[in-house]
Symmetry: C2
Subunit: 426 residues, 2 copies
């Protein structure tokens, strides 16, 4: 792991956004238009081709869900249940309220909060199974009171989904689980098929085909952010324990070769200890190969002159996950402008937030924490403005409104006011 | 204007999303990459080609702003000032607060609200000048406490911007106004040039080139929604005044030939009166030709059997603007699920919200009110999750977190917890 002194233009530290491969884009477009036209039939065909599954029915049955419980460890089930409770408790605080304001002249203005009607949650299939993803995507939608939540996930060659996926969905009360993955599942959610009603928003992670398909259908339906590779930055001074720092860097690096794990510190000695600890712990990891490639390609320890400079580095990186292991982490909270999730203190390992604490693990990647937020309840509601004017309010303000409209050359706008007021001559 | 009885599949009423012309897309891509590489030089060149202006400097001077006041009518200035005050007052209510929750075991979880660092506001040039657009895009960013707000707008052939644009910007305290438009302005905002620092988010309406450019740079920076043609739906029963309904339909229709103006009513007699009033008022409008084409192509009066059916039509249309002119409009507020702005009662003309009341006029079009919101203060802030665990909390929950991580095959995640707790043996 390289150690580098911070200097010069900090902006160069930012990672650039990756582009979607044009060949992926064109095959995704083909799949989308095929599913739009032929519906379930096209989905069946792609599921056979890509997943090797010949399905007689798209939907998971109640029996399948019940049977799945036999294959899930009791401790894992306890963890899922406790995590779900924590996530629900945290997200309940995010629910916005409809409000109104009134004025003496009879004016009422307001903002109405309404849940989306329907949401589709994409759950990746294959060898890696992430029940936590289901919790993080479904629970905020439930807290928002979305009426219809559909899950889609690609089946294996036997036409089955992983038991942990089924159990998690069942624990949350998700009824409709449609067995399909890839661009074909995104198309089915966006356009609908004979068996699947379309949804208004699609969330959840997926491979490049899923990401490209979501980008294509955006506008027709809403989507969540397109997730890039995962990132962690650990901001630490000489009070930090290098083994903890190293362990957390590696918990990020084991995700993906393209994951990025960076420590920023004011201490040369700590920097060296972190590097040594990373190497020591790396050798003991089952996913050593992946983690090592990530550390070699995107890992670094940056040494800053001052804590202020270190914070500036963090803000430039705008990391998905930020851990602060300094003497008084709360002192820095106000200075941290850009980070998806901020973990404060030495016991706040990133895993705590990934699985359990209650905050969402769907976070802005690739520096988009500069302008994006963690997945949250407001992503599953929308606002409507409310305007209610009295005759008194319109009489009083009508002339100003009309002159503003005429300045913009919109006569009918002016007349719509004047027809209702004493000025009206139309 | 056609009158139609509501029947059958209501979904067919929805308008479909328009696609961007591929030739526009490819020339936009070229402009973007050219500006990314050559910066100001490329912007200058495109400004000469497209706007006919040969600029010596990109930025509007203080003198230009001051001189502009001579060309703006006093009533208009009063209207701009009062509208700005109303907009600021309404949007102040939208500002979210950072919050925290604590638990007995020492856990602290929270959500931090941080303004974006910088925002670019696109203001269209040409013959139609919309000072109201500046108010609606700049004020929410100011309320959010965005530090740097840059305006861009294409100059005329003399290298000048419209006085009303300059005055409005000056009234709001916008300092940096960069004279450029089209895709080249979007590129300059997204990538930066020698004279213009890049921004984190680009908002504001524009022609197809601007829309296509915003779509392309999305991900690298954030953007607001891509606006489609404007829409109004007036929901009315036999208590409604047909002249008011007609006037409001026309205030929408005069915007654009592709604008859509629809009345939904339970009364046959009212439907006919609205049609006749539309024709009568149409003949007196300066923008009659545009409004007539809009009414002929996209205008309609739908007659529903019941108010409940009429509301269902509204929810299917998910209009940008909805006016409710019924005996008791508040009775219907809870039933209205999808609308960008809801105008209640006969004195709440759409113009009131377009210019003056305080709500935002940047609203979701083309049925996207199903999942999108009016432009608001939260569009200029982002959230960061806060997680702070105590040793006690980690000791107690560590085993569950570790077992969850192992279920997902992520050993390093489990170890990052165990290294800190009594379970730790690494």
């Amino acid at each position: 792991m390289r150690i580098e002194r911070v200097k010069g233009e900090l902006k160069s530290l930012r990672r650039s956004v990756e582009m979607i491969d044009p060949s992926v884009q064109s095959s995704v477009k083909e799949i989308l238009s095929d599913v739009k036209q032929r519906g379930d039939e096209a989905v069946s065909q792609y599921t056979k081709t890509f997943d090797g599954a010949d399905l007689s029915s798209f939907f998971v049955t109640e029996e399948e869900k019940q049977a799945a419980y036999e294959h899930v460890n009791k401790d894992v089930l306890r963890a899922i249940r406790q995590a779900a409770e924590n996530i629900r408790e945290y997200h309940a605080r995010q629910l916005e309220q409809t409000w109104m304001m009134t004025k003496d002249d009879g004016t009422i203005l307001g903002q109405k909060i309404t849940p989306l009607d329907s949401v589709g949650v994409y759950v990746p299939g294959g060898t890696a199974v992430y029940p936590s993803t289901i919790l993080m995507n479904v629970i905020p939608a439930q807290v928002a009171k979305v009426e219809r939540i559909v899950m889609v996930s690609p089946p294996n060659a036997e036409g089955k989904l992983h038991p942990a996926v089924l159990v998690t969905a069942h624990e949350l009360g998700v009824k409709d689980i449609y067995k399909a993955g890839g661009a074909q599942a995104v198309a089915a959610l966006a356009y609908g098929t004979k068996t699947l009603e379309p949804v208004d928003k699609i969330v959840g992670p997926g491979n490049v085909f899923v990401a490209a398909a979501k980008r294509e259908v955006f506008g027709h339906v809403d989507i969540d952010m397109i997730a890039g590779p995962s990132e962690i930055v650990v901001l630490c001074d000489d009070s930090a324990n290098p083994s903890y720092v190293a362990a957390d860097l590696l918990s990020q690096a084991e995700h993906d070769e393209r994951a990025s794990a960076i420590a920023v510190t004011t201490s040369n000695a700590l920097a060296e200890n972190i590097r040594d600890e990373v190497e020591r712990q790396l050798q003991q990891l089952p996913r050593e190969a992946i983690a090592r490639r990530s550390i070699e390609s995107y890992g670094a320890v940056y040494v800053a002159e001052t804590l202020a400079e270190a914070v500036e580095v963090v803000n430039q990186l705008a990391p998905e996950h930020l851990e602060v292991m300094t003497k008084d982490p709360y002192l820095l909270l106000g200075k941290i402008k850009h980070a998806g999730a901020i973990f404060l203190g030495e016991y706040s390992a990133e895993s705590v937030g990934d699985y359990f604490a209650g905050t969402n693990h769907v976070l802005p990647t690739n520096g988009t924490a500069r302008f994006s937020s963690p997945l949250n309840v407001s992503d599953f509601t929308k606002k409507s403005s409310i305007i209610s004017y009295s005759k008194q309010a319109l009489d009083q303000n009508g002339p100003l409104i009309a002159s503003f409209a005429r300045e913009e050359g919109l006569e009918a706008h002016a007349r719509a006011v004047e027809i209702r007021t004493k000025e009206g001559e139309v």
